[in-house]
Every structure is written in C-alpha cells, then in structure tokens.
C-alpha cells in the first residue's frame, strides 16, 4: 500500500550529514592565506598584484578549459582548489616574474600537476610546487632575481631593483669562504626577517603572516598540528646539530626557520591533504623527512633553497608511508598475546 503522493526516499544510513564540504575547506585556506597576501602587497605593491592576479586567473582558466573541453566533465572551478593553486604558485615566485612565465607555470601546475592525474584528489604531487619547480628549472634567471621589498619597487613591476635573498647570500658567501658570522652582519635582523623585511618570493616573506594563517587553520581544524610541527622541530634539531658542530659554516636554526619557503611550505604546501599522509603517525614521518631533506639541500645541495624539492620528494613517498602507518585498530590483538 503506498501513500498518495508520498514518494519516499530510501538510502543507506546515516541519513544526516555534517556541514563539512570541500568548498568550506578551500575557502578557509584562502582566508588563511590573506595575511601573507596583504604583506606581499605591502612590500611589493604593483608587482605582487600583477603576479597574484595572473597566477590565480590563469590557474582557474586552465582548470575550466581542460575540464570542459579536454576531459569533458563538469568544471569544478567553484570548489576553490584552483584558486589556491594559483595563489600558492604566486607566493612561490618573485614579484617581477614576466606574465607569460606565470601563465606557463599555471598551465603546468594545473594541467600536469593536477588534471593529468585525474583532478582533485588524485594527484600525487603538490600542483603549485610542480609548477614552481618546472619554472625554476626552465627559467632559472627570471626565477632567481628577487626585487628588494618596499620603497621604489612598490610601483614597479619588471623594472624593480633586485637583490639577493638571505639564503642566497649565505650560500654564495660560504662558497667564497666567508664565515656565517661575517655574513650575518650583511643580513637583516631576525625581527626583520620575522616580519618580512627581506628579499624573497611573494609568500616567503613574513613568517609572522604565515604563522597567523597557519594557526587559524589549525584552530578551525582544517589541518592538524602534526606536519608543521614535525617539519619545524626537525629543521631546528638538524640545523642545530650542524650549527653546534661548526658555527662558521652552518647557519643557526632560527635563521633556517625564518628564511626561504620553510614557513610557507610547512603550513600551506606540505599540509595539502591530497598529497600528505592519512594518519598522525604518517604525518610525523612525512614532516621529519621534509625537515631532513630541506636542510640537506640548503646546506649541501646546489640550490640555496630546498623546500619545494623536499616536499615533492616526500610526496612521492606518501603511498608507502600510508601503507606502513595504519591507524591503531580498536581492540588490536597482538600476534603473541592478548
């Protein structure tokens, strides 16, 4: 017997759902990136604006184009993930990067880093980092000339005056035989580095701004504390050991933490949920791996900055990490006992 006009819906339980959704998560991340964005505009003005807008718009465009015409699926640009990829790519490049290079970077980030694997959720490597590393290797000159912050550069774009980053200075200096102590005098103070008064890519400037955004995400339970903490602690310990061994050749931990893409990478790139491990235990292993690799590349590698490479290398290990760091079963029965 059926009720008149009553067509009931049948589905498996549960019949209620939490208010979580992909959009909410993505938009939280965008909000968390705003402090860093404001700092970058404050320091690099016009250049930052152009680079950020180009990266975001081209990333969104390429995702829409590829989904609509090549994959022939419904475009998902409204879920916010392309915007984040664009923003993070922008944060990883200097503010005087030519527009055409940015666009190529977006295409590689979205097309190769994300869509070729099957779209959101299926990629192995962090898309923004794939784009960034591609640009770094293909256009080394443009990708390694950083405008100095503030002053005249606020209204200039590709004609901004450039200077070296602290990491670059250290790398060159140590190669030339100078000691860390001598080099540190040429660099901005720790406080300046903390608030961003130094050369670098758009998002790498202010550890303070990144920290605010990162803590916001942890508070809102979008990310957990495991990855950022394990990276920072590992870097501090590893760099600390090196610094204690030979203070003239190796910079101190605080320097390592405040310079380069370490903070940005720890809170926003390594914590990308698609490319990071699934359990707290796995996340810590992941973070320790990144910490070791980034210090190793910075100190012994050819590049002054190793965060992007460190994260990409550990991304490749995530499936293996997942296999060996399963969550603890309730009522786990150990093989040789109760």
């Amino acid at each position: 017997m059926k009720e008149n006009k009553l067509k009931l819906v049948i589905s498996h339980s549960p019949h209620v759902h939490a208010k979580s959704s992909v959009n909410k998560i993505m938009y939280m991340v965008i909000i968390a990136l705003l402090p860093a964005l404001i700092v970058s505009l404050a320091y690099f003005g016009l250049g930052a604006l152009i680079v950020t807008l180009t990266a975001v718009l081209s990333a969104v465009f390429f995702e829409w184009f590829i989904q609509k015409f090549l994959l022939k699926v419904k475009p998902t640009i409204t879920d916010g993930s392309a915007i984040i990829t664009g923003l993070l790519l922008a944060f990883n490049v200097p503010s005087n990067l030519p527009i055409w290079i940015i666009i190529i970077g977006s295409l590689v980030a979205i097309g190769i880093g994300k869509m070729s694997f099957g779209g959101l959720g299926n990629n192995i490597f962090n898309p923004a980092l794939v784009g960034r590393v591609f640009l770094l290797i293909s256009f080394p000159v443009q990708m390694t000339s950083w405008p100095t912050p503030g002053g005249q550069n606020l209204t200039k774009y590709f004609d901004a005056t450039t200077g070296a980053t602290p990491l670059g200075l250290i790398k060159e200096g140590v190669k030339n035989g100078e000691t860390i102590q001598q080099l540190m005098t040429k660099l901005p103070s720790y406080w300046d580095m903390f608030i961003g008064q130094m050369g670098g890519s758009l998002g790498e400037m202010s550890a303070l701004a990144i920290l605010i955004g990162g803590l916001f995400l942890i508070w809102k339970k979008v990310i957990t504390w495991h990855i950022p903490t394990s990276i920072i602690v590992t870097v501090a310990i590893f760099a600390g050991i090196l610094h204690l061994a030979d203070p003239t050749k190796y910079a101190d931990p605080l320097f390592q933490l405040l310079t380069g893409g370490l903070m940005l990478g720890s809170f926003f790139m390594a914590t990308d949920m698609v490319t990071s491990p699934m359990t707290p235990k796995g996340m810590i292993i992941f973070g320790v791996g990144i910490g070791i690799l980034v210090v190793a590349i910075r100190v012994w590698g050819a590049y002054p900055e190793g965060m992007s490479f460190a994260i990409l290398i550990m991304n490749a290990f995530v499936p293996l990490i997942n296999m060996y760091s399963k969550p603890k079963l309730y009522g786990e029965v150990k093989k040789n006992g109760k």
């Binding site: 009931l8 498996h12 549960p14 979580s20 099957g118 490319t275 399963k326 969550p327 309730y330």
Partner: protein, 452 residues
Amino acid sequence: MVAVKTFKKGGVHPEDNKFSADKPFVKAPLPKMAIVHLTQHLGAPAKPLVKKGDKVKTGQLIAEASGFISANIHSPVTGKIMKIEKAIDASGYKKDAIFIKVDKEEIWEDGIDLTTDLVKDIPYSPQEIVEKVKKAGIVGMGGATFPTNVKLSPPPGKKAEYVIINGVECEPYLTVDHRSMLEMGHELMVGTKILMKALGVDKAIIGIENNKPDAIKHLSEIAPEYGNITIQPLKMKYPQGGEKQLINAILGREVPSGGLPIDVGVVVQNVGTTIAVYRAVTKNMPLIERTVTVSGKNFSNPSNYIVRIGTPIKELVDFAGGIPENTEKIIAGGPMTGKALSSLDVPVQKGTSGVVFFASEEAHRKPYQDCIRCARCVSVCPAGLEPYLLMSLTEHQMFDKVRKEHVTDCIECGSCSYICPTNRPLLDYIRLGKKTVMDQIRAERAKQQPKK
C-alpha cells in the same frame, strides 16, 4: 562530583535534536491488525506454533525459538490468526509474519502479573532468571536485538566482572531511554540487580550522556537503595552507545578485535532491555510492547509512546498526529543507524526505537566526488579502520584486501559517511564489503565442519 568520561578513539557530534525529551510516555492504542514477524531478532527465525484460524490471548507464546541464537515470540494482542505470510519489514524485504486480527476485548494469558507495584525481591537462582528471560523472548532493545538470555549465559571459561547499563542514547531525536530512566527508574534498578544476580557480579555501572542531567540526577539519588550500582556521566559523543565504545569510556578497556565484551569481563544491556527483564522475571510479562519516539524537525508533536509490537507504523503515526507536510523520508530508528522505510505498513518490531520524519530539505543525498584524502573518515572511525580505503577496495572488488583491513570490526555507526566533505557513500560500500567477507568466512567455516 563524578568525573565525566568518554571513549578515546574517533567519534562525531551530530546535533542531538532531542525534541521529545520532556514528553512523558503515552500508551498508543491497539492496532486493528497486528503483524508479528518471525524474525525480530538476530539469529534463526522463530517457528510458528499457531495456524490460520487459531484464537490467541495477549502474551501467549505464538512462535518458539529455533536454535541456540533465536528468541520466542508472543502475541502482543488478543485476536484471531488471519494468515501467516510474507509482509514487508524494516529490512526492505518481505519476511514471514503472523497476522492477528485484534479483538475488542483484551484477554491476557494466564500467569502474567498485570499489577504495576514495584517488586524488589528476586527469589530466583541465576539459572532460573536466565530461563525466565529466555521464556519471555527478551532481545536487545537498543536496536541490535541480540537474544538476552544468550548474553546472560557466558561461555565456559569466561566470567563477567561488571554489568554496564547503556543509558547513553547517542542517536539524535531518540528519547525513549531517557524517559524510561526518569519514569521507570526503580524498575530499571531492580532489573539491573536481576542482571547482576544472573551473571554473579557485584558491580554495575549505568552510563548516561550529560545531555540528560535530570536522568543522571534521578538515578544517582535512588541508586544507593539498591546496592553497588554507580551512575557514570559521559561526555556527549556519537557513537558512545555502541557497547565497545561504552566499555572503553567507562572502564578504559578495549574489547579485542573479533571478540565480545565478555572477553573483558563485561556484559552491556540497554535500559529498555533491563526494564523488560525486570518485568519478565517479577511479573512473567513477555516482550510484547516497547517504547518508541516519534519525532522530526518538521513534526509538530515530537513525543514518546508505548506501543504493542506488531502495530503498523502507519497506525502509530496517525495516532501521533499524522505525517507532516513535505515529508520525503521516514526512518525507523535514529538518523545515524536507522533504516529508511519504503512503506508505512512496516510494523513496530522488538528493535524499533523511533520513527523520524525528514522534510524535503534534509531528505536527499548530495552527489559525491572523488576522495580528496582529507583523512577525516580515518580520524572519526571509532573502530580504527580506514573507511576511504575500504570503500575503494570494495568498489574494485578486492575482497581479500578488504578482509585484511579488518572490515569485520566495523560497527556500521556511519561516522565516516557523516563527516566526509565530498559526500562519499562510504558506509554503503563498506556494508557490501563486510557482507561479502562475512559470507566468505561462513563458507570457509561450513567447509571445515565435516572434518570435525
């Protein structure tokens, strides 16, 4: 002040929507035709003892347990057996049921004490208690419907240390256990003592979530009269009412994977079951009625009823005020583990604890997307499983791997599907994987039997 506890691993926090928490029980009228299914419990269906044309009295045994894990079924009404044929139940399929046309006059079976005064003396031995519980056809009324007499008979070598009474009621909307604790608190206490005597334990703990402060207060006040029964308030978290999670919350112990609560010395019983045990042992009352909450966000009169088993849900709903406008989904049970009904001819059974209406805004699922590997499902799973992986393996039909991933430990609480940001039907596939693996295990066991 007793410290508030909760279980360690996983859990989610759905809105509790306890709209009917302050509504005392109302007795629902007898149905016109009682539809009593032969399978209202885990285990083998009961065997009918009556045939078409027989006249039966209320409380008369009409089907008997067939096998070790099975239960007796008694007539909930006085009337005439019209037919024994298949009728739809909450499983969504038609199963054998006894149809009883209800007489105007009620005649009770001999031996049943209809008085309502409290009986505190239990002059029975443990075996006699278990026998009375078995005779009365009591099964777990929290929804699991496991035959209670089997739970009260631990296998040789296993001894119970604690009795835990499950007053958690973590499912949204449902308030029958809450009201039972308030209105039948003394019966609950005596029932607890009966269970303690049957199992030979001297310690009992009643776990209650702290969204029921009045129940905690009331039971804490009367508990001292009854000996060693403590009340343990618990922090609200779903699925605390699952017996494995409840044991972990109250005692900190973990039931071993593949094992039972008795392995850690505990027997857990629902509040409703305990009160039914009291009635069975002191008044010889078989299980013929139960408490049901009828509720919903768009329902004008969320309330609690005492309903005879076999009452078609349609008749209960009409008595409660009728289906509200715009209803597109009706659940038997609670929204996290309940079954969506395809027909209101489904009768109230021994395990039906609620009827919840969902309006069109909340009745539909959203389309789902690829897994974004956010690991929320892993962090909320109370069993410590990886739901995203179980779904993926089941989709690809890799059942050997599904089995290795401990799918049989899944308690089907639904926390994973609840939390997934891309709305993936995790539990749908996990259920399929679990069933396939259980069938494999059963087939393997059956193959081994002849050798024994």
